[in-house]
C-alpha cells in the first residue's frame, strides 16, 4: 500500500506544485478558481483518454509516439509560462507604479489566466495518464488487493494536499515580495520543463547531440525521492542530466529573463526576475 502511495504521489507531486503556484499567482482574480478547476478537469479527462489509447500512442511515429507527445505537451507548457512572464514585463510599463504587488499579479492573472489554466491542464494530462495506467494495472492484475489501489488514491490525495501547501506557503509571503517570487518560480519551472522536453526528444532520437550524462548526483539526492521530485519541479533539478538538457535549462532561463529584462522599463522595475 505504501509503495503504491509513493509511486502515485511521485507522479502527482509535479502537477500538485504547479496547481499551487498557479492558484497563488492568480489569487484575487475573478473566475481564477473556475479557470484552474477547468484546467484540472480538462487535464484529468485528457489523461484518461491518453491512458485508454496508450497502446496506440506508443506505436505511433515508429514507436516514438509517447516521447513526441510528452515533448509537445511540455513545450506547450514552457511557451505558456514564458508568455505569462513576458506579458507581465511588457505591461509593467503601462501599469501604474503605485499598483501594489498584489494588484500587479491580479492584473497579470486576468490577462494570462487562460495560459496558466492550460499549464495546469497540461501538467495533469501528462502525469495523470501515468497514474491512471498504474491504477488500472493494480485493478487489472487481481493479484494485488484493494489496499494497493487505496494507497494509490491516497497518493492522489497527497498530491492535492501539495497544491494547498504550496498555495498557503506562497500567499504568506509579504505582498511586496510575492510578485518577484512567483515570477522567479515560473521562470525556473519553465526551465525545468524545457529540460524534461529535451529529455524526451533525446529518447525519441530527434536530438542526438550532447546526449551523454553530464553529472551523477543521485548518491546525494535522487530525483525519484520526494524531496528530489519537489526540487525537480521547482528548479528543474535532475540527478543525471544530459548536456543538452542542462543547455536547454540555461537557455530557457536566459531567454525568459532576457526578454522580461528588455521589456521592463528602467525607471520602475516591477517585473524583475531574481537572478
Amino acid at each position: 500500500m505504501l509503495g503504491a502511495l509513493i509511486i502515485v504521489f511521485r507522479e502527482a507531486i509535479e502537477a500538485g506544485l504547479i496547481v499551487g503556484i498557479v492558484l497563488a499567482v492568480t489569487r484575487g482574480v475573478p473566475l481564477a478558481g473556475r479557470y484552474v478547476l477547468g484546467g484540472v478537469a480538462t487535464g484529468a479527462a485528457g489523461a484518461l483518454v491518453v491512458a485508454a489509447f496508450a497502446d496506440r500512442l506508443s506505436r505511433a511515429y515508429a514507436g516514438n509516439g509517447q516521447e513526441l507527445f510528452n515533448a509537445a505537451v511540455l513545450a506547450l507548457a514552457v511557451g505558456m509560462l514564458a508568455w505569462h512572464n513576458i506579458w507581465m514585463a511588457r505591461h509593467g510599463r503601462e501599469m501604474a507604479q503605485e499598483l501594489s504587488a498584489v494588484g500587479k499579479s491580479v492584473a497579470a492573472g486576468e490577462s494570462t489566466l487562460f495560459a496558466l489554466a492550460s499549464v495546469v491542464g497540461l501538467a495533469i494530462l501528462r502525469e495523470g495518464a501515468e497514474v491512471a495506467l498504474f491504477l488500472y494495472g493494480v485493478l487489472a492484475s487481481g493479484e494485488t488487493g484493494f489496499d494497493v489501489f487505496f494507497g494509490g488514491l491516497m497518493g492522489l490525495v497527497l498530491g492535492g494536499a501539495t497544491s494547498l501547501a504550496t498555495f498557503y506557503g506562497l500567499v504568506n509571503i509579504p505582498p511586496r515580495h510575492l510578485f518577484a517570487v512567483t515570477t522567479s518560480l515560473i521562470t525556473l519551472l519553465a526551465a525545468g520543463l524545457a529540460a524534461q522536453c529535451v529529455g524526451f526528444l533525446q529518447q525519441a532520437g530527434v536530438i542526438t547531440a550532447l546526449s551523454d550524462t553530464l553529472w551523477d548526483s543521485s548518491w546525494l539526492l535522487s530525483d525519484k525521492s520526494i524531496p528530489g521530485r519537489v526540487l525537480h519541479t521547482l528548479i528543474g533539478y535532475a540527478d543525471q542530466p544530459s548536456g543538452m538538457q542542462v543547455l536547454a535549462w540555461f537557455m530557457t532561463l536566459v531567454v525568459i529573463y532576457g526578454a522580461t529584462k528588455l521589456l521592463t522599463p528602467t525607471s520602475s522595475t516591477p517585473a524583475r526576475v531574481a537572478a
Binding site: 509511486i7 492484475s141 542526438t208 546526449s211
Partner: protein, 110 residues
Amino acid sequence: MTNIKSMALALIAGAIIPGAALAQDSLSLTIKDHKFDPAELRIPADKAATLVVKNLDPTPEEFESKPLRIEKIVPPNSEASFTLRPLKPGRYKFFGEFHEDTARGEIVVE
C-alpha cells in the same frame, strides 16, 4: 518473425534517425510476472543498438533508466522499442517503475 520485426524496426530507426547505423545490434527482453528476462544484457561499446521490451503481463509497466535516458510506458501484452545511443563501457541499470522491487535489470556495455 522476431528477427524480421526487429530488423524492420532497426531499418525504420535508421531511416528516421540521422546518424543511426543501419546494422544496429538488436536486443530484446521480456517482462513476465513483473520481472525482466534476461535481467542482464551485453552490448559492445560505442555502437548504437535497438532494444525491444515486450510486456507479457496483463498490466502496464513503465520501463525506466536514468543513465540510458529512457522513460516509457509499455502497455500490457505489447512492446516498445528504444534506440540506445552509442555507450561508453559500464553498467547501465534499468527498472520497471510500477514494480520496482522485482523489475530490475542492467545493460552491460563492454
